[in-house]
Amino acid sequence: MLAVDVRDLRVKYGRLEAVKGITLEIPPGEVFGFIGPNGAGKSSTIRVLATLQPKFEGRARIMGLDIRSKPHLVREKIGYVPDFFGVYEDLTAREYLHFFAAAYRLPVSKRKGVVDDVLQLTDLTNKIDSPVDSLSRGMKQRLSLARVLLHDPAVLLLDEPASGLDPRARIEMRELLKALKEMGKTILISSHILHELAQLCTRIGIIEAGRMVTQGSVAEIYRELGVLKIVHVQVANQTPELIASLKGLAGITQVEDQADRISIRFEEGSIEVEDIHDFIHNQGARIRMFQPEVMDMETAFMKLTEGQTA
């Protein structure tokens, strides 16, 4: 049974067709990244799955439950974080979570334990009695995540959860999502921060103008597009011989000696990043920095999309 099963989904707002026949299959436990420019149809697709867009064509199912005929059962299976905070600022964090625990009809005897658990998971235990309006943006977003975990949903629908967060909050959010991934949650996440999705997602889908341009694992998309991977390296004792030996390494396409680093380009699958690391180390170089380039995801994105909206 698929956790998320979308077939030929179409969403119209008046004359505007925001989603033009998207098909998605996400098995349980997968983290699926939804990437696309603004107005591409990401939020519309997620809102359909969150039962907040009753008018749509095609088929949409969550854990085998049809959204059109059983939205009330679907709501039990999903946790939805919109692209805004959605928090009551006149409540404390404790009241806020107890509010939703009651709304999700958790047994009264279990609520305190569950609330404590999700607060611990989201690292908000010390903020339990703080008014929500006193929390930072990152904390509010983590509180939103704590909310959706209260009823232990199988599928998490996260609409740009890292939007507007500072780098520290983004890193904290990413770590939290990794923890959820390890807990076996199925996550559908949309974001503009491509490299974070690349690190987190088992598969990604690129959407533009209401259509799915491509979907697959990050490696598959690289391969499909012929995009070169890149590794940035800084060594303490850089020599011309090291550059020459790297150029001679099988699988390496290009080595560029830049002012503060060496940029090594290679095709996906031709050589592993770990092998490059071992090779440099074996050459006697003292590695100060070794950074696989994440921004090539953006190259893929730019290559696939033309910045169109629906």
Binding site: A50, T51, L52, Q53, P54, D66, I67, R68, S69, K70, P71, H72, R75, E76, I78, Y80, P82, F84, F85, G86, V87, Y88, E89, D90, L91, E95, H98, F99, F100, A101, A102, A103, Y104, R105, V108, S144, R147
Partner: protein
């Protein structure tokens, strides 16, 4: 390259006028207003013509009655419509986060305030222009001097400016349109009283100049005209002062309060009172608590819990205070009536209190009910609530828990008043206390009870469901409040309008029983039926005649209509909630 040079423009005014012109409601309101204005004029014309020929009507010089009615309708429109149109002028910019952008431009705060004010004045001016042909008719009918018409136009223009400025001032001060709207209506009477008391000193002088004293010579006419102009200008001074003061206030606070977070002033006031009483208790009793305020948190109905524990008008303690605020003046009004042997229970302070309490109650219910939806929208919490596994019925019922409490509290003064009036009528005014066979007191008593039930149980709930229904359909709270109030006024007034129009068209006396029964559709008839049907029950005491005519029939008609409306609106609100909110509900299709 040439220098850009000086250029003049009114970008904000242009934008606001274009925005207003793009709204469908602008035209609907204008048509409705024209219908009311011309309907009133037609009614008066029919009244003064008395079936006579046109030549006869013209020869009587009876335009004064129509003139006074038109001025009254215009003034009422200014007082009712202008705060509604103007209160959102600046708060809407704050709500859309566009005020900051405006302040970054070269537009000064004064320019912003004035352009906003002018844009609302232009809109109001278009309403007032509708009456120009009617003023021409009034002048043609005679009985009114040209100067009086010009003075009335001058007077209306000034009132528009004063009320528009007050509304803009409130809009500059408040964070939300609802807050500005309520403040504008609360402040308006004070400012109006100030301006009117200043004018009352000057107005006798105007009357003196135009006192008829035979034919005036050209010179006398010129002097009188000049004197009137001077006095009119002098009468405008208090209004000018008020307008200047309010505009200066708005200009001063536009920047200071551009980014203030939303505040619940009533809640803050109540919390301040809490602290005061707590300190008082600590000083006087060393903190002894007879009843401890325990909050168990959201156990089973979380939305109802939040509505009743976290909102200012929902908590029991605060509602009790509200009740005291309402009951104390009522007790004074009742005492006054009891001690004043010259008046019945339907004259004097209690009826005045009833007249005052109904609009306040209706406004409180409308604002609170519409806020139930728009507070969620403005906080962007609606979506997270809608994905909770609660049914639409549960969501609606719980969301309205605070409103139900408010209605329960508001019912207490109504009940106090109505029980007093019923008792007073039966035992004091009529001097009867028995329900013996053949006595009609039992009938009167049942009549009172039925009327009381309708007033307390049904009408507030119709107001609640009506405003909830409209809140689901419109885009912002101001629109929802306005449409709710307009609909309530319409529902109350349409039966009377129908009676008078039918009476005019078919030459039937509106008080004739063949038509008068229609007025029983209106709650006004039920609430004030003794007052309307029998101007002096104290002396005549023939209320039974009223009842025999169509009292029980009328009440039953009213009850069926309004209970039906209540149930219909409730059913529609429950049914349409999900579709209006964009929430999927189970369908048969797999």
């Amino acid at each position: 390259m040439s220098a850009p040079g000086w250029s003049f423009g009114l970008p904000l005014l242009t934008k606001d006028l274009i925005e207003q012109a793009a709204h469908r409601r602008t035209y609907i309101l204008r048509v409705v207003y024209a219908a009311v204005l011309y309907g009133a004029a037609l009614w008066i014309y029919a009244d003064i013509s008395g079936g006579g020929s046109q030549a006869e009507v013209l020869s009587r010089g009876q335009g004064r009655q129509m003139f006074l009615t038109l001025v009254a309708v215009q003034l009422a429109a200014v007082i009712i419509l202008l705060p509604a149109i103007s209160s959102g002028a600046i708060t809407s910019e704050k709500e859309r986060d566009t005020l900051g952008l405006l302040l970054l431009t070269k537009l000064s705060p004064t320019t912003i305030i004035l352009e906003k004010l002018i844009s609302r004045m232009v809109t109001m001016g278009t309403y007032q222009l509708l009456s120009l042909p009617l003023f021409a008719v009034v002048y043609g009918l005679g009985g009114v001097e040209l100067f009086e018409i010009l003075a009335a136009i001058w007077y209306l223009a000034w009132w528009s400016l004063v009320i528009g400025a007050i509304s803009i001032g409130c809009s500059a001060w408040h964070r939300t349109t609802a807050g500005a709207f309520i403040s504008a209506y609360a402040i308006m009477p004070l400012v109006v009283c100030f301006a009117m008391s200043c004018q009352s000193v000057l107005s006798p002088a105007v009357a003196e100049i135009w006192r008829p004293s035979g034919e005036m010579s050209t010179m006398q006419y010129f002097v009188a005209s000049l004197g009137t102009i001077v006095l009119l200008l002098a009468m405008s001074v208090p209004m000018l002062i008020v307008t200047w003061f309010v505009v200066a206030f708005a200009q001063m606070h536009l920047l200071q309060r551009a980014f203030v977070p939303p505040r619940n002033l009533l809640l803050e006031f109540f919390k301040g009172l809490d602290k005061f009483f707590e300190d008082l208790n600590n000083h006087t009793t060393s903190g002894i608590l007879l009843v401890r305020d325990v909050d168990t948190g959201p156990m089973f109905d979380p939305i109802a819990w939040r509505e009743t524990r976290k909102r200012s008008l929902g908590t029991v303690r605060y509602l009790f205070r509200l009740l005291i605020v309402l009951e104390v003046p009522l007790a004074i009004a009742i005492s006054w009536t009891v001690t004043d042997h010259q008046s019945s229970s339907f004259d004097g302070p209690t009826t005045f209190f009833l007249c005052l309490l109904w609009p306040i109650a209706a406004l409180a219910i409308v604002v609170h009910t519409t806020n139930v939806i728009f507070a969620e929208r403005s906080r962007q919490t609606l979506d997270v609530l809608l994905v909770a596994p609660l049914t639409a019925r549960e969501l609606v019922t719980q969301k309205l828990a605070g409103v139900r409490r408010l209605i329960a509290v508001l019912s207490v003064p109504f009940l106090t008043l109505i029980i007093f009036q019923a008792t007073w009528t039966l035992y004091v005014v009529r001097g009867l206390g028995s329900f013996s066979r053949g006595s009609d007191n039992a009938g009167v008593f049942v009549h009172e009870i039925l009327g009381m039930t309708l007033a307390v149980l049904v009408y507030p709930r119709v107001v609640q469901w009506l405003s909830f229904h409209l809140a689901l359909r419109v885009r912002n709270q101001t629109q929802a409040v306005l449409w709710s109030l307009v609909t309530i006024i319409g529902l109350c007034g349409v039966p009377y309008l129908v009676v008078y129009l039918v009476g005019v068209v078919f030459s039937i006396d509106p008080n004739d029983a063949t038509l008068a029964w229609i007025t029983w559709f209106s709650p006004i008839r039920v609430l004030f039926h003794r007052k309307i049907a029998q101007p002096s029950p104290w002396s005549g005491a023939n209320i039974n005649q009223v009842l025999q005519d169509h009292g029980f029939f009328g009440l039953t008609l009213n009850a069926v209509t309004w209970v039906g409306l209540w149930l219909f609106l409730r059913y529609r609100a429950m049914r349409d909630f999900s579709s209006s909110m964009g929430r999927a509900e189970p369908s048969g299709a797999e």
